[in-house]
């Protein structure tokens, strides 16, 4: 604290300047510029075709392709994130106890996060194959008919949720584990002496103590899921998300409009709506969590 009073009044500004300059030029400026583009009729080849005001946004509200993509994105988000975070909490609780091979399991949990998203989307694309996929084969051995993971809408959502969970389960588990390590051990000890079961300790000590971390992971997951792109693109081998767009996400639609249909202005409008949705969802989460905290 006292340190800054010494030599060079400008030193701290020099130290933080590179972050703000680089971030400003390459992240903040494009985000703001995106808004400018979204108010214009803009194409990659023709450039700026003139100011159109809110027309792109107005069109978006009536565009069935957009609502379809939004529904897909939200559905995959719910199917993926809710079970994933619950499972991550339980796993972290197990890893937080003294168990055998603790170090091994901790490292193993995060392995999927290390691997390339593109590589694994290709692997999962095969695992979820209709005719030769291992998952259908496994289902067959227990008497379930093969599922067409790509054309059936709900099945395609589930397949994508599995890919997402595979990648992020371990990451969230580790974040929860880190938070759980800060809970004082004597809380559990005195609860044990009072005769509280493990399950009860989990609900009444662990969960309340890691609530801020849960909020953090929910927001991070929201940001990631609203931008879901790589898995569905590789799953569908293009930006369409299936012949009926049954699993086309908003990020895919944005990309499709901007690149293939050369409609930059509309793509930018979609991007801003996604950004606004992320902010709104994050705020709802914050309010929701603080409401729970106030009630308990």
């Amino acid at each position: 604290m006292f340190f800054g009073k010494l030599d060079g009044k400008f030193a701290p500004y020099l130290f933080i300047a590179p972050f703000f300059i680089i971030f400003g030029v390459f992240n903040l400026f494009p985000t703001a510029f995106m808004f400018h583009v979204s108010l214009h009729d803009w194409s990659m080849i023709g450039g700026n075709g003139g100011f159109v005001g809110w027309a792109n946004y107005a069109f978006l509200l009536t565009d069935t392709k957009f609502w379809n993509a939004l529904l897909n994105t939200l559905a995959i988000f719910v199917i993926a994130v809710v079970p994933q975070l619950l499972l991550a909490l339980l796993l972290a609780d197990v890893l937080n106890r003294r168990i055998r091979f603790q170090g091994f399991f901790r490292v193993a949990t995060i392995l999927p996060y290390v691997t390339s998203i593109a590589a694994m989307a290709i692997v999962f694309g095969q695992l979820f194959g209709r005719d030769f996929g291992l998952i259908n084969l496994a289902l067959d051995t227990i008497g379930i008919d093969p599922i067409d993971w790509r054309s059936n809408r709900f099945a395609s959502w589930v397949a994508l949720a599995v890919m997402v969970d595979w990648r992020w389960l371990g990451f969230n588990t580790l974040i929860y584990l880190a938070a759980m390590q800060t809970i004082p051990r004597d809380l559990y000890e005195s609860a044990s002496i009072d005769g509280a079961s493990r399950l009860r300790q989990f609900w009444q000590i662990t969960i309340p103590m890691v609530r801020p971390t849960v909020l953090f992971t929910v927001i991070i997951s929201t940001i990631g899921q609203m931008q879901l792109f790589t898995e569905p693109v590789i799953f569908s081998a293009d930006y369409s998300g299936g012949n009926q767009n049954q699993f086309q996400t908003v990020a895919m639609l944005m990309f499709d409009e901007a690149r293939r249909l050369d409609n930059f202005g509309y793509g930018a409008a979609i991007a801003w709506v996604i950004f606004l949705l992320i902010v709104v969802f994050s705020l709802i989460n914050v309010l929701f969590v603080s409401r729970i905290r106030g009630a308990s």
């Binding site: 130290f15 971030f23 593109a118 694994m120 590789i234 991007a271």
Partner: protein, 264 residues
């Protein structure tokens, strides 16, 4: 028991990636599919490397350059800013900290459209600068380093450096950096992984002539007939370097993440 199931769930797709990469296309098409590694890895590697659409060697080299450059840059600039925010007193410090936390909420991929226009204006299309520059700093990095610096750099050390007449930059270099080293390694590894695996932006801005390894994989996936053995080999190729790094440093990385959370 539950842990072993989760471990299987985590490990199986990776294992199967290697199985197919060491066999051929028949490993996927046969019923039941092959579950043990085969002997065709060398052959598949040669085919992958020779595939003109993938430009795989260039992809690997480019990814190594991009991931290293961004990791070094993020570690340097973010520790500098994190240290200033944690340990130096100046006007606007709180606002700057808040601003950095808010920037973490901006999803950079959403700005892809104007970023492309911008890269056209710079004439950086197809150039590695286009995939390095936007990732040279991260809000997450500054936040992480600030948390570490607050706890991990004792004020007494800074005080004695001051008494010895060190300038701010000198203090940073000789006193702060050694103290922050564990956190810097963690941040460096996370950044390296993230940029090695970056997918959307390189595909959008780099052409097939100058790909990163993820673009190469994607190029193997294009076309009417998919050669899965080739794609799986390429994917194994893209994953192995990270897996190796992780097996060697994994414990340290996890230890670092946990320590940071505890201190934060």
């Amino acid at each position: 028991m539950a842990l072993s199931l989760v471990f299987l769930f985590s490990a199986f797709p990776l294992y199967w990636l290697v199985v197919v990469a060491t066999r051929g296309n028949e490993a996927i098409a046969q019923r039941p599919p092959a579950l043990l590694p085969g002997r065709e890895f060398a052959e598949n590697i040669v085919r992958t490397l020779e595939n003109p659409a993938a430009n795989f060697v260039q992809g690997l080299v480019n990814s190594a350059i991009v991931a290293t450059a961004t990791a070094v840059s993020v570690v340097f600039f973010c520790s500098l800013a994190g240290f200033a925010l944690a340990k130096m007193r100046f006007r606007g410090r709180n606002i700057a900290t808040l601003a950095i936390i808010v920037t973490m909420m901006i999803p950079i991929q959403m700005a892809i459209v104007p970023m492309l226009i911008m890269m056209d204006a710079f004439d950086w299309r197809g150039d590695l600068r286009a995939v390095i520059a936007p990732f040279m700093v991260t809000g997450f990095g500054v936040f992480l380093m600030r948390q570490y610096a607050q706890q991990g750099v004792p004020n007494e050390l800074l005080e004695s450096a001051r008494l010895d007449g060190c300038s701010n930059l000198r203090t940073f270099w000789s006193v702060v950096v050694p103290q922050l080293r564990p956190a810097m390694i963690v941040l460096g590894m996370l950044t390296f992984m993230q940029n090695w695996n970056e997918f959307i932006w390189p595909i959008a801005v780099l052409g097939p002539d100058n790909p990163t390894v993820q673009v190469s994989i994607n190029n193997l996936n294009q076309g009417y007939t998919s050669d899965f053995a080739l794609m799986f080999t390429g994917a194994t190729f893209a994953t192995l370097p990270l897996l190796l790094v992780f097996v060697v440093f994994g414990r340290r990385l996890i230890g670092g993440i946990m320590e940071g959370a505890i201190k934060g």
